[in-house]
Symmetry: C2
Amino acid sequence: MTDLRRDGAAALEWAARYLEGVRDQPVLAQVEPGAIRARLPQHPPANPEPFADVLRDLDQILLPGITHWQHPRFFAYFANTATEPGILAELLAATLNSVSFIWRTGPAATELELLTLDWLAELLGLPQGWHGHIEDTASVSTIAALAAARAHTGKRIIVCSEDAHSSVERAGRLLDMPLRKIPVDDAFRMRPDQLDLDGAAAVVATVGTTSTTSIDPVPAIADACRSAGVWLHVDAAYAGSAWVCPELRGSAAGVEHADSLVVNAHKWLATPMDCSCLWTRHPDALRKAFSLTPEYLRTPETAESLSDYGPALGRRFRALKLWAVLRCHGRSGLQAMIREHVRLAETFESWVRATPGWSICAPRPFSVVCFRKDDSDEANEAIMQRVNASGVAFLSHTKVKGQFVLRLAIGNARTTEDDVRLTWEAIQNEAKPDR
Amino acid sequence: MTDLRRDGAAALEWAARYLEGVRDQPVLAQVEPGAIRARLPQHPPANPEPFADVLRDLDQILLPGITHWQHPRFFAYFANTATEPGILAELLAATLNSVSFIWRTGPAATELELLTLDWLAELLGLPQGWHGHIEDTASVSTIAALAAARAHTGKRIIVCSEDAHSSVERAGRLLDMPLRKIPVDDAFRMRPDQLDLDGAAAVVATVGTTSTTSIDPVPAIADACRSAGVWLHVDAAYAGSAWVCPELRGSAAGVEHADSLVVNAHKWLATPMDCSCLWTRHPDALRKAFSLTPEYLRTPETAESLSDYGPALGRRFRALKLWAVLRCHGRSGLQAMIREHVRLAETFESWVRATPGWSICAPRPFSVVCFRKDDSDEANEAIMQRVNASGVAFLSHTKVKGQFVLRLAIGNARTTEDDVRLTWEAIQNEAKPDR
């Protein structure tokens, strides 16, 4: 029998040592596809095994197959962090195991979710009175927002820029809503002069695109949407967290006119996966898209059920981790983390600019630096693969104006200037002609 | 600063005491809507607070607003359990915080998910070679399956029985796929003689409906689907777990012909929310519905990415908890739990049948008993509300042939025969004419 105290103490010790030692692991898992599975039993056990065996196999078999998102030199995609308050809150949420599909099945979970989303709206400087709830990912938040836009407007076309996240196209396919892509300008921003809203249900404007963290001109797009009666969904999944710092709120201009907004607290706000925050000024439109109460879910209370706002019926107690993170970091703690990440990105950018033979490839409004060696695409890709294979750091790439470009995404709370320096040295080292 | 060892020990002790004492809590939260929120600060803190304060407020403020899904007398909806191995695995998953949207971002998470779904398929006696992965809820698994059916068949109509779960209708609305509802027979099973497959993309057949746990005639439906080239999705979200016991596999007849199947391990298989298992014989159809690889996600490996099989891109390391549960319970442990629940339901059913003035309202193939007092709907509803308000047990209801019917759903691993007896006594007591 698994004992929560005895086995829990061992699991907690494993977790603490993991976080203390993660810096010494190769960031990107150094395994071939299939290697982890091949080391595990192909059939389930007939009889109970001790939890200690699970912990042993996690350590000995799975660990080499783990890409360490908690590593301070994880610089790929959008780097993130699960800090201690959120980790412990997940333990508590799993212990409670509440499934809050209607209010009475989780009154505290429901009300805490609404409250923490109000708290976060206040921290980010969003308008008062928006309705906020949590979905698992920005992909699903966007699906919910676009379904609401369709229900609200009766139209079907989704408009976004060429540089919008692939989840918008995936959502369109799921919802059977055709996509219209608008070209971007030289700074990778949607061109409002090219905006065609004919038949449009929604525009998805992005603050902080995945490729270059460019910022669509939301004020102009909002004006056009308002005139045309089109829903404006703002995807600030990564960059919205920056608004906790007043000096970074320039990028929030126009967002106050959005009909819906997604910010992932699990990206740049220290909260463990999954915590995608979706706000709307039209909760009625989300309910129109999703609400459906069969007999077996009818209850006497007049109280909000958060499953009326998205695709899933069952809902974990995700608010607990966001509440713990907002409280244990506080506004000042979150600001300090974001500011340090932006400072480190600025520093890295200055190093690249100061080095002959290297170029910055896009403006850097937040904590992601797009850069490349003045060489072929193949040479740049090879540099990235060698850095990643070394285990020192994990970078990812994008294409900018047809060229292969490296991305250094800073977003882990444990990242120091030394980590960034070591990574820049590794990149330069792997770029030497004799490699 | 939150310290994982110190604050973690306190959180773990809270969790252990919670589970030890949950039996003494009122099952259904005894609060009015808004009461929990009113006791919490309306604004987020400016500066960091200790994690101990979070734990204190969880205990003092939130606890009264928690409906205790872990309570042994939680008999509403489908009762579930998060047992210790899964709880601790969630702590570990949050510590690792991997976001496995493509293989290289989580090789171990990806391969363990495929392996554990193969393990579970073997435990449930499913055909070999199906492709399995985890979604958060059956709602989303069904959305994924129906999107695949649409992509595979090029058709749009969804066919299900009147008693199919409301998530099928919600999925149809999201996917813009019209629903055709087929009448049920006297035992609440879809009538195959009424099956109209004209224009149909998919039939959703249910094994264990939410209302009465009735079983659609899957073999006949499967034959009709095969002839007509229609996708067969089997919703066994609750009852599929029963197949771990060979003597309960009669209800799996025909499921081997399904194109997709959903079983929620977080319902009756001891795994914490969220762990909805979706298998398919046509992984290509799921990829056709969902796969889309933008430049920034291209990698050199030829390896499967599980985000190609559902709406979400980012994916938590959910397989860890299912793996821990399957190992620490073993086949024999899971069988023992399921058998005990079925035995308790049989016992409760026999008590109801032996009591004058009470009736069983539907066949009981698994662990859910549908019953009512031979009295008005209002009287039955009042009985249920009084039992729930007493905190002794939590029941929910359904409508069966137009009548208000009580449901006793057994599914919590801590439930004993004494819990069931105490609940039956409470029900009879609240049904006395002088109440």
